[in-house]
């Protein structure tokens, strides 16, 4: 995903337990009901520069991102 502007993109080690969304079962999540968590993931993917690469790798469609 695109780096956050400012010094957030410094490349330094993340200190907190960052979730790796590329390893999540996205098709199941994005096809699930209209939950807070599924919608949060849709928004996250929508903000990425190339979400289609992650989506395609999981067999989902771009429409799954824009459901919410």
């Amino acid at each position: 995903m695109d780096k956050i502007a400012g010094s957030q993109g410094s490349g330094e080690e993340q200190e907190w337990d960052l979730v790796d969304v590329t390893k999540l079962p996205l098709p199941d999540l994005l096809r699930s009901d209209n939950t807070v968590l599924a919608n949060s993931l849709r928004r996250l993917l929508a903000e990425m520069e190339h979400p289609e690469e992650i989506i395609a790798a999981h067999g989902s469609s771009p429409q799954d991102i824009s459901r919410h």
Binding site: I4, L18, V19, L24, S40
Partner: protein, 411 residues
């Protein structure tokens, strides 16, 4: 061009004396252009809310400013916003009509102001316009006109009648709930719902969070903003006398759990969405949490270009840039230390924040809440304990849910 004055900022050594702008530029840092223009279209208010940072806290500059913008100031605002969009090739910006109570300016005035701004913008730039109101003056004709002019309406409401009217009262002591109820009923009418932006709720730890959230839900808001009351190390939050309790986190955690566990998402809550997004490695969209650059600028009724007005809670003149739309482009404000400090992410955090494992999520909290008279804004938030508890809770819920997924994998 007027040089920004630092005189008002002598009580904030950081950033005004200690932030090295030359060094930042030498390291390659560049400012983020303003994208949110908060226009103080009326300086007075028809309510007297007891926590209002404009009228009840440190900065009392409203007393000395004109009630409304003059034609000269208004024309300069239009010209300067268009100039900023053109200079920085902005494809999108937001205009927030604010006050005081913006509807006191009169609807014809507001509509012509917005039309003038939209007309002046470059063809490639789209302006999203919102009006933040207490709702008391929202008559049906007003709502219809705002809808017809693509102006969204955000309304402040702190819960049910008793809870709301404890703080949000008229000058004569009458509560505002009934009037706001009428306004929100109108905004829920199918004819007008397209103009409904959402609700803004300042939390009171004495209020039941579930009852408050469910009362707000009755008005079907597209979005809810839960705000912490403005406070700092000189003016402490209510109910946090010893600094060890977390009454605000307790409130927010209860509200989060109620919202998060719903089988179908009932509304959007920006603070919670930001925390989830940051937990997942994304960004924040508000200035309450996260380290995204703040790109908000305020214009007062006298044309003064100011920093976010929540800083009025810190000290007199805390919002000042020394600039005015009559003489200065908005770009000049991008060099003001107080503005720069909001755009440099973790560089603006103090040592104890940088040593904290969740600093990239909480972002040090709201900038206004970090103020301490002795040294300025490079401090932990006065809500630090509350923020840590809230961040830990949100992170725990989200990562636990993700780890339970069949193919879930996260480190």
């Amino acid at each position: 061009m007027t040089a920004p004055t630092l005189a008002a900022h002598s009580t904030a050594p950081w950033p005004y004396q200690l932030l090295d702008l030359a060094d930042l530029h030498a390291q390659g840092w560049r400012p983020t252009p303003f994208r949110d223009f908060v226009l103080k279209v009326h300086q007075r208010c028809n309510l007297a809310c007891d926590y209002c940072y404009v009228y009840t806290m440190a900065d009392q500059s409203w007393r000395h400013r004109p009630a409304m913008m003059s034609t000269e100031v208004r024309d300069a605002v239009v010209r300067r916003i268009a100039e900023h969009a053109d200079t920085h090739h902005l494809a999108h910006l937001r205009i927030l009509l604010h006050g005081g109570e913006p509807l006191l300016a009169g609807l014809p005035h507001l509509l012509s102001f917005v039309a003038a701004i939209r007309t002046a913008l470059p063809a490639y730039c789209r302006a999203e316009v919102c009006l933040q109101t207490n709702g008391v003056l929202l008559a049906e004709e007003t709502v219809a006109s705002l809808r017809d002019n693509s102006i969204a309406v955000g309304v402040s409401l702190d819960g049910g009648a008793a809870d709301n009217d404890r703080h949000r009262r008229h000058h004569d002591g009458r509560g505002s709930y009934q009037a706001v109820h009428r306004a929100l009923t109108l905004l829920n009418d199918p004819r007008y719902v397209s103009a409904y932006a959402g609700l803004l709720c300042t939390i009171d730890p004495n209020v039941d969070p579930i009852a408050c959230y469910e009362k707000l839900l009755e008005f079907a808001p597209p979005t809810i903003d839960f705000l912490l009351p403005h406070a700092n190390w000189a003016t402490r939050p209510r109910l946090a006398r010893d600094g060890t309790g977390t009454p605000y986190a307790d409130w927010l955690v209860a509200a989060f759990d109620r919202w998060y566990a719903a089988p179908v998402q009932e509304t959007r809550i920006r603070l919670f969405e930001d925390l989830i997004s940051l937990t997942l490695g994304g960004r924040s969209r508000s200035e309450q949490v996260g380290l995204s650059p703040v790109a908000v600028v305020v214009v007062e009724t006298d044309g003064a270009v100011e920093q976010v007005d929540s800083l009025k809670s810190a000290y007199p003149g805390a919002c000042s840039t020394g600039l005015n739309v009559l003489t200065d482009p908005f770009t000049a404000a991008l060099a003001v230390p107080g503005v720069v400090a909001r755009q440099i992410g973790r560089e603006a955090l103090c040592r104890s924040c940088l040593d904290c494992p969740v600093h990239r999520i909480c972002g040090g909290g709201h900038y206004a809440h970090r103020y301490r008279p002795a040294d300025g804004f490079r401090n932990p938030s006065v809500y630090c304990h509350d923020l840590r508890r809230l961040v830990d809770h949100v992170q725990g819920r989200v990562t636990a849910d993700l780890s339970r997924l069949p193919a879930g994998s996260h480190r």
